[in-house]
């Protein structure tokens, strides 16, 4: 049952990453991978809010599985992030590669923490 919820979330999450990435790229022409950055930051914020809501008792366990390991897990990605960082470095954009790592990690970790703290108080 939980496995079906994970699949249902992933079936939406993975295409949503692809479509969001395209939509973000259509709005700029830089080589910096803003699309993946936006997707990872967004998934981290949603997962943080979800975790905070669950801790406050406002999200049932099936919603947590559907949206956590399902939607957010498939929406966010480490493989795309690491490969594009490698490509930036290989193409001579070392600064952009370093900026991608620093920004993705700081914003991602911050978004989860912030989302969960705010949701915990909102839903308490």
């Amino acid at each position: 049952m939980n496995w079906l919820l994970v699949v249902a979330g992933a079936v939406v999450g993975a295409p949503l990453r692809y479509l969001t990435d395209r939509a973000v790229q259509q709005r700029h022409d830089s080589v910096f991978p803003w699309g993946t950055f936006v997707v990872n930051a967004g998934a981290c914020l949603v997962l943080g809010v979800l975790t905070g809501a669950a801790l406050a008792g406002a999200a049932s366990s099936w919603v947590v599985v559907l949206l956590g390991p399902g939607l957010c897990g498939a929406l966010s990605t480490y493989s795309t992030f690491s490969y594009e960082t490698l490509r930036l470095a290989e193409r001579g954009w070392g600064f952009l590669a370093a900026a991608n790592v620093a920004m993705s990690v700081l914003v991602g970790l911050g978004a989860v923490h912030l989302g969960s703290q705010v949701a915990r108080q909102l839903f308490a």
Partner: protein, 167 residues
């Protein structure tokens, strides 16, 4: 480096392996079939990740080895896959290979959000040192894995023919 009569493989200029609109073929890829391939791959990748997390759960405050291993191995695999797709073949890869295996399976298998949540949970458990070590170790392991796997795959692919240098 391009030999007379051979062009760089389609997609070799890409930075973003999910989709890079600087690559004309990816700008024009048919959305219906691609989205279906991404969804199917994502379901498979997320299932594998969920299965590993059930088999190898981390106790509260414990180091999240399962997520670290999932992300590191997924990064190694994308290094192999993308080098094979963009630099490797004598024949063009199937157009749905990248959407299915790269965007779908590996994108669905690896996760940035769980990585960030693991960090936040370690902090909440009062394990700040562990949290920082986990955050840093994942970055180093993931980038090391994608670099090592891409380099090794390039060496293997280049060994098969003289004309495989494409940046």
């Amino acid at each position: 480096m391009t030999r007379k009569g051979s062009r760089p493989a389609a997609g070799s200029e890409a930075i973003d392996p999910d989709v890079d609109l600087h690559v004309p073929a990816q700008r024009a890829e048919p959305q219906g079939r691609v989205l279906a391939a991404v969804a199917a791959g994502g379901a498979a990748g997320a299932s594998a990740r969920y299965g590993i997390s059930l088999l190898w759960p981390a106790a509260p405050g414990a180091f999240p080895w399962a997520t670290l291993w999932i992300n590191t191995s997924g990064c190694a695999l994308i290094g192999v896959l993308m080098v094979l797709i963009s630099e490797g073949g004598r024949t063009a890869p199937h157009p749905l290979l990248r959407p299915f295996a790269g965007v779908g399976v590996l994108g669905g298998f690896t996760t940035f959000s769980t990585y960030a949540l693991d960090f936040s949970r370690l902090l909440d458990a009062g394990e700040a040192r562990s949290a920082l070590a986990y955050a840093g170790l994942t970055v180093v392991a993931a980038l090391g894995a994608v670099w090592a796997a891409a380099s090794a795959t390039r060496l293997a692919v280049r060994g098969r023919g003289p004309d495989r240098v494409v940046r």
